[in-house]
């Protein structure tokens, strides 16, 4: 059994918050206090702004923060993935340099993994890092990079050896975004937003101390990042949207959110906005059409079954039981739900589904659903990749035979960029 009890943790955090919480403090100042007290990231180790708390007890801490209205550590965006990766693979110096400013929100991070030529096949990255003189020199292109335009640091996966199989020739770096060799350009999507970036490297530089993990071990490090990304895939839903209370710290948090959460503002629409369906069906009167009712009921069924499946997975996790199959299904389920939601929103809107922007239903929100849903079955691993994962890792079916892993990467057929 753990040294921690729910009651003990609750009492301790409550007492500390009552003694220290002050909404008129500065945001960074307060988060530094959290870091020092170990309440910033309670599940992290004690030496790194945490308390080594079991993840099952973290919600207790969150509840107490919410009860008193206290602002927590910075958690939005890629920063938590960066931290999780550095905690496992980083050097002491790297942890010292980056972790505190992650927690305080002073630094913003982005993930430089996907490339035009390597989407589903992330290990096929062909952005190159060559050691020249006393530093790594990076050339190539990354894509689908959220927040690169206001990031300080990037988690870079780059090829350092072209003469070994693809997974063996990658290394992992922390790259300073704000340097002349890095050009960040917005990538406009079909829904009109430009919440991703393309990042171009032309002799961008990375000092050797910014290498994370061993040379050629970049894929293993990236796997840590990706595992945390998958686990937290829907975490943007739980990110604090900021409080509307008065106080300096709330003002600062709202300002932070305005920047940090901007790229994610269409994500709920991408998921289909099931929450709006009954209200819309009632308002439009389409709830009275038996054929529409069938589709609405199907959607609610799929949605709730997916929610309950996720809860089963979390409940098993909280009880420390081995992960069942239900844990790997959420991403695929969310694609099915979102597609059915787009269908139902169209059905409910009728002719109004033709309209967008201010002319469209809900000031264009319905139209935004219709043109955003296609992303959900692609972003973060296509449905096809998810089915491969479920088949191979959960159902233990034979792996697809590979022709790209047994030879030097330079000999693997691939598209030249774009």
């Amino acid at each position: 059994m753990s040294e921690f009890t729910e009651a003990g943790v609750r009492a301790e955090v409550r007492a500390w918050l009552e003694a220290n919480w002050d909404p008129d403090r500065g945001l960074v100042d307060w988060r530094n206090m959290l870091a020092d007290a170990g309440w910033a990231m309670p599940a992290w180790p004690k030496q790194w702004y945490g308390r080594g708390l079991p993840t099952g007890l973290v919600p207790v801490v969150d509840e107490e923060f919410a009860r008193i209205g206290a602002v927590g550590a910075a958690k939005t965006g890629i920063r938590i993935l960066a931290a999780a990766t550095l905690l496992v693979h980083g050097t002491e110096e790297q942890k010292q340099k980056y972790l505190r400013r992650i927690v305080t929100g002073e630094d913003t991070w982005c993930q430089l993994f996907s490339e035009p030529g390597s989407g589903s096949d992330l290990a096929g990255a062909s952005t190159r890092a060559d050691f020249q003189g006393n530093k790594w020199v990076v050339n190539g292109q990354k894509v689908w990079t959220t927040s690169a335009h206001h990031a300080d640091w990037g988690l870079l996966l780059a090829r350092t050896d072209w003469d070994v199989p693809k997974h063996k020739g990658l290394s992992y770096f922390v790259l300073d975004i704000n340097q002349p060799g890095v050009s960040v350009q917005p990538l406009k999507q079909m829904n009109g937003h430009a919440s991703f970036n393309q990042v171009f490297f032309t002799d961008a530089e990375v000092p050797p101390e910014n290498q994370v993990g061993e040379l050629g071990e970049g894929w293993a490090v990236a796997t840590t990042t990706l595992m945390h990304e998958r686990r937290g895939a829907d975490s943007f839903r739980s990110w604090s949207m900021g409080s509307d209370r008065a106080g300096r710290i709330y003002d600062e948090e709202r300002a932070e959110n305005a920047t940090q959460l901007e790229p994610y503002k269409w994500y709920p629409q991408r998921a289909g906005r099931v929450d709006l369906v009954l209200q819309r069906a009632r308002e439009t009167g389409r709830i009275d059409d038996p054929a529409v009712r069938q589709e609405v009921a199907s959607l609610l069924t799929m949605h709730h079954a997916a929610v309950w499946t996720a809860r089963r997975a979390r409940a098993a996790q909280a009880l420390g039981r081995p992960q069942g199959p239900e844990g790997s299904l959420g991403k695929l389920a969310s694609s099915n739900v979102a597609r059915q939601a787009a269908h139902v929103h169209t059905l409910i809107a009728g002719a109004d589904a033709l309209l967008s922007g201010e002319d469209g239903p809900m000031d264009g929100l319905i139209a935004e659903i219709l043109v955003s849903v296609p992303a959900i079955s692609i972003a973060g691993g296509t449905d096809e990749i998810q089915r491969n994962i479920i088949a191979e890792r959960v159902l233990r079916m034979p792996k697809e035979s590979r022709i790209d892993t047994d030879r030097a990467f330079r000999d693997v057929p691939r598209n030249t960029v774009r």
Binding site: R293, Q294, L300, M302, H304, A305, V307, L329, L332, P398
Partner: protein
């Protein structure tokens, strides 16, 4: 709602699964389904008493073990998995809830202990030839004469209706819908087995001509108990269905791993892998719905009627789709009589329709939906 089973529940399931794997192996299923009764009194009494299956969810006051809907649903799921040929669904998911919701205290004390002990097999006759599942078109009539009641009319689609010792019958008594109990061997009762798509669960048509009957609870007040009974039956059937679907899925999974074509296990083809992944998704979603509904029922949640319909529709669609996929993955062999897949396919088809098909339940679900209660 409860989103995980307790360790005790898990152990109970494991024991039961092993027990039924032994006692309801497919050879036994095939033997029993070929009989007119569809089950054997001696064998069922023995099996039932060893595991206390009918007693499980009957309150202790009435001779049962007092477990709740979640435990009951576990038995249903395992029975569905094993395709248990027994009057378990009719007795515990139809008759017992009817007696518990409609019966007087005296009636519960009179009827339930023998059911719990496995001595009485019971069922519910609430549907007629028109196949309307909610009793709203009931034409069977109850007449009072000399302080006693007698029933006239026809009931159909009665699960185990030709073999049950005790039949709870829905009839109209002038003042409204009423439930009655009738002895299986009562005078004036003619019971004809129906030929069903699913040979593993038998149905019967009953003709009642002046059959002596005892009112179950208050005359004219059966509507609410009947509705509650049908909700509970739908939830239990949904759990039975996901048990069957999971079994089909596992068997198909095993088959494709073994079956070689083109010099490789067909499980290595991406089309097969993706089909299996989708099947897993489907079955896990339906399990979640069935479990959630059972848990809500155990909690007495206000949203139980909606969740019952949701779970029934979801499980029915999934069971049927899984059965279709399972046959497909078996290829030609899956279409043969000697392969077991069709036994579950036929149960899936019958269960899709039993208590109302998915279209019916989706409509009901929406009528019953209280957004604020939906967890």
């Amino acid at each position: 709602m409860q989103f995980s089973f307790t360790e005790e529940q898990g152990e109970f399931r494991d024991v039961l699964r092993r027990f039924l794997a032994d006692r309801s192996a497919t050879a036994e299923v095939r033997r029993l389904m070929a009989t007119d009764r569809g089950w054997e009194p001696d064998g069922w009494r023995k099996l039932n008493q060893e595991m206390g299956l009918t007693a499980l969810a009957i309150p202790e006051d009435y001779g049962g073990q007092g477990f709740g809907v979640v435990e009951h649903a576990i038995v249903m799921e395992e029975a569905g998995r094993a395709l248990l040929c027994a009057p378990y669904f009719a007795t515990t998911a139809l008759a017992v809830p009817a007696i518990l919701t409609a019966g007087t205290e005296d009636q519960k004390r009179a009827l339930l202990p023998a059911i719990a002990a496995g001595d009485t097999v019971a069922t519910l006759a609430h549907v007629e030839d028109d196949g309307v599942w909610d009793g709203s078109t009931t034409t069977a009539t109850a007449t009072e004469k000399n302080g006693g009641w007698s029933l006239d009319g026809t009931k159909s689609f009665v699960v185990d209706g030709h073999t049950a010792d005790l039949i709870v019958v829905l009839a109209s008594a002038g003042t409204g819908l009423s439930l009655f109990t009738v002895a299986g061997d009562a005078d004036g009762l003619t019971r004809r087995p129906l030929t069903g798509v699913d040979p593993t669960r038998k149905l019967a048509r009953l003709e009642l001509k002046g059959v002596a009957a005892e009112p179950l609870g208050t005359i004219g007040k059966a509507a609410v108990p009947l509705a509650e009974t049908l909700d509970q039956a739908a939830i239990l059937l949904a759990n039975e269905m996901v048990g069957g679907a999971e079994r089909l899925r596992e068997d198909a999974q095993e088959y494709v791993a073994m079956r070689m074509q083109f010099g490789r296990a067909i499980a290595s083809f991406q089309a097969i892998k993706h089909r299996c992944a989708d099947m897993l998704l489907d079955v896990e979603m339906a399990k979640s719905a069935a479990y959630a509904a059972a848990s809500a029922a155990a909690d007495g949640d206000a949203n139980v009627p909606a969740l019952a319909s949701l779970a029934k529709a979801c499980a029915a669609d999934t069971y049927m789709a899984t059965a279709v996929t399972a046959i497909q993955l078996h290829g030609g062999i899956g279409f043969t009589w000697d392969n077991d897949t069709h036994l579950w396919f036929k149960r899936a088809k019958a269960s899709e329709v039993m208590l109302g098909d998915p279209t019916y339940h989706r409509e009901l679900m929406l009528q019953r939906w209280h957004e604020e209660d939906a967890a």
